[in-house]
C-alpha cells in the first residue's frame, strides 16, 4: 500500500492558493467598483476581474489539454 502523498499535497496546495487568490483578487475588484467616481479604482477593478477570468481559463485549459 503506497499513499501518493505528493498528489494529495499538490491538490491541497493548488486548492488553497487558487481559492484564496481568486476570492481575494475578485474581492479587491468588487471593492474597487464600489467606490463611486474613482476612475483609478474602477480601472484597477477591471484588471482584477480580468485576472480572475484568465486564471479560470488557464485552469480549464490545463485540464482539457491533458
Amino acid at each position: 500500500m503506497s499513499i501518493d502523498w505528493h498528489a494529495l499535497w499538490s491538490v491541497l496546495a493548488v486548492t488553497l492558493l487558487s481559492t484564496v487568490g481568486l476570492v481575494g483578487v475578485f474581492t479587491l475588484g468588487v471593492v474597487g467598483l464600489s467606490r463611486p467616481g474613482a476612475t483609478a479604482a474602477r480601472g484597477g477593478a477591471y484588471v482584477c476581474f480580468a485576472a480572475c477570468a484568465a486564471a479560470v481559463a488557464w485552469g480549464i485549459w490545463l485540464i482539457v489539454a491533458k
Binding site: T19, V23, F26, V30, V31, S34, V56, K66
Partner: protein, 417 residues
C-alpha cells in the same frame, strides 16, 4: 450473443438512470447557495447548471478511467449482471437519501455498489484494495477538509478586504461572482460525476467484449452520459438544495462565492489527478468552511452531523444492497428480472412518499409562488426540514422496501437520517 447484447443494453439503460439520479441529487452542489442567496432564480440556476454539466462531460476522461480500469479488476471475471446489481444498489441509496434531503455522495453510492457486487460475485481478488484506499477513501476524508479550509480562509480574507466598503454597492458584484463560481462547480461536476457513469458503461462494454480493456469511453457514451446528468440536474433535487442552501448555515453571496470557488478548485484539481472524489462532500465541506469563516455566522452542527453520518453509511449501505442484488442476478435471467422489478418498486414507493410533502423550485426558498402546501408551514419547517420527510419513509413504503430488498442496512439509516 443476442442475450448478451440485451443484457448490456439493460445495464447501459440502468447506468443512465443512475446518472440521472446523480444529476438531480447533485444540483444542490453547484446551485444551493446560489439559489438561497437569491443570486439566481431557481429555474435559471438549474438550467445553467445543466448546460455546464453537459459541457463539463466533454472536458476530460481521467476519472472514467479510474473506474473502468482502476478500482475493479476487469480481468477477474466481472459480468454485466454484477454491474447491473451495483447500479441498482447505488440508485436505491440515492433515492433514499434524496427523500431524506441529505446531500450524500452519489459517487460513493456507485463505488459501494460496485465493490459490494464484485465481492459477492467474484470475491476479494476482484477489487483493487489499494486503488480503493488511494482513489476513494483518502480523497473522501481529505477533500471536504481541504475544500472547507480553502473556503474558510477565502471567506475570512474577503470579509477583511471589504470591511470598509459599502455593503449595498458590493452586493451586486458578489452575486455575479457567485454565479460565475457556481457555473465553475457545475462544469467541474460534469467532468467528475458524468465520467463516473461513463466509466461504468465502458466497464459494461468491456465485460461484454464490445470494446477492448483499458479503452477510453466511446463518443456516444460520453454524449449520453452527459445528457443524462444534465437532464437530472435540470429536474433538480429541491429537497437537497434546501438542506445545503439553508440547513447548514446562513450563506451570504460573498460566502457563497468563496465556497463555490473553493469547491470548484478542489474538484478540478483532483479530477486532473484522477481522484474520483465526491463532489457532494466537497461542496458541503466548503459551505461549512464558508460558514466558519464569517464571524457571527451560525453553523448548524446537528444537520452537519446527520449529513456526515449519511456519508459514512453511503458506501457500505449501497454495497450491501448491491451485494444482495448480485446474489440474485447470479441466479440467471429470473434473478435479473427480480432485481429490476424490485428496484422499480422501491423507486416508485420513494416517489410516492416524496409527493406527500413536495419540495419544488416554487417553495425551495419559500418564493412567493403558489406552493403545494401553505407558505407559513414551510417557513416554520425550515429549521427542522429534515425530520418530516424522513418520518414519512416508514409510513408509506415500509412493506415494499422490507420485502423487495435487504432493507436491514438501509432502513435504520434512514431512521437516523
Amino acid at each position: 450473443m443476442e442475450h448478451m447484447t440485451l443484457l448490456i443494453g439493460i445495464v447501459i439503460a440502468t447506468a443512465l438512470v443512475f446518472d440521472f439520479t446523480n444529476g438531480f441529487h447533485d444540483t444542490a452542489n453547484a446551485m444551493a447557495t446560489t439559489i438561497s442567496t437569491g443570486a439566481l432564480k431557481p429555474k435559471t440556476a438549474v438550467a445553467m447548471s445543466a448546460v455546464l454539466n453537459l459541457v463539463g462531460a466533454f472536458l476530460s476522461v481521467e476519472v472514467a478511467k479510474t473506474i473502468s480500469g482502476g478500482i475493479i479488476d476487469e480481468s477477474a471475471g466481472i459480468k454485466p449482471e454484477m454491474i447491473f446489481a451495483a447500479l441498482v444498489g447505488a440508485i436505491v441509496w440515492n433515492m433514499l437519501t434524496w427523500l431524506a434531503g441529505l446531500p450524500s455522495s452519489s459517487s460513493h453510492a456507485l463505488f459501494g455498489g460496485l465493490i459490494g457486487a464484485t465481492l459477492v460475485a467474484v470475491g476479494r481478488h476482484g477489487v483493487h484494495g489499494d486503488a480503493v484506499v488511494m482513489k476513494v477513501l483518502i480523497p473522501a476524508l481529505a477533500a471536504p477538509i481541504v475544500a472547507g479550509l480553502a473556503s474558510a480562509l477565502a471567506t475570512r480574507l474577503s470579509y477583511r478586504l471589504d470591511r470598509k466598503a459599502d455593503p449595498e454597492a458590493t452586493a451586486k458584484g458578489y452575486r455575479a461572482g457567485q454565479i460565475a463560481s457556481a457555473g465553475l462547480v457545475s462544469l467541474a461536476h460534469g467532468t467528475n460525476d458524468a465520467q463516473k457513469t461513463m466509466g461504468v458503461i465502458t466497464l459494461a462494454l468491456i465485460t461484454g467484449g464490445v470494446v477492448a480493456p483499458h479503452s477510453d469511453p466511446p463518443l456516444w457514451v460520453i454524449v449520453s452520459a452527459g445528457a443524462a446528468i444534465a437532464l437530472g440536474t435540470y429536474i433538480g433535487g429541491w429537497r437537497i438544495i434546501r438542506t445545503m442552501g439553508k440547513g447548514l448555515t446562513d450563506i451570504q453571496p460573498q460566502q457563497g462565492f468563496a465556497a463555490q470557488t473553493g469547491a470548484a478548485a478542489t474538484i478540478l484539481a483532483s479530477s486532473h489527478l484522477g481522484f474520483a472524489l465526491s463532489t457532494t462532500q466537497v461542496c458541503s465541506g466548503s459551505v461549512m468552511g464558508a460558514g466558519l469563516g464569517r464571524t457571527g455566522a451560525v453553523v448548524r452542527w446537528s444537520t452537519a452531523g446527520r449529513m456526515v453520518a449519511a456519508w459514512a453509511l453511503t458506501l457500505p449501505a449501497a454495497g450491501l444492497v448491491a451485494a444482495g442484488a448480485a446474489l440474485l442476478t447470479d441466479q440467471g435471467t429470473w434473478g435479473v428480472v427480480t432485481v429490476a422489478v424490485a428496484g422499480l418498486a422501491i423507486c416508485a414507493a420513494i416517489r410516492t412518499a416524496a409527493r406527500r410533502k413536495p419540495i419544488t423550485h416554487a417553495n425551495v426558498n419559500d418564493a412567493p409562488e403558489p406552493a403545494a402546501e401553505p407558505q407559513g408551514a414551510v417557513t416554520a419547517a425550515i429549521a427542522a426540514v429534515i425530520p418530516p420527510p424522513a418520518g414519512t419513509v416508514p409510513a408509506a413504503p415500509a412493506a415494499p422496501v422490507a420485502t423487495a430488498a435487504p432493507a436491514g442496512p438501509t432502513a435504520p439509516s434512514t431512521a437516523t437520517a
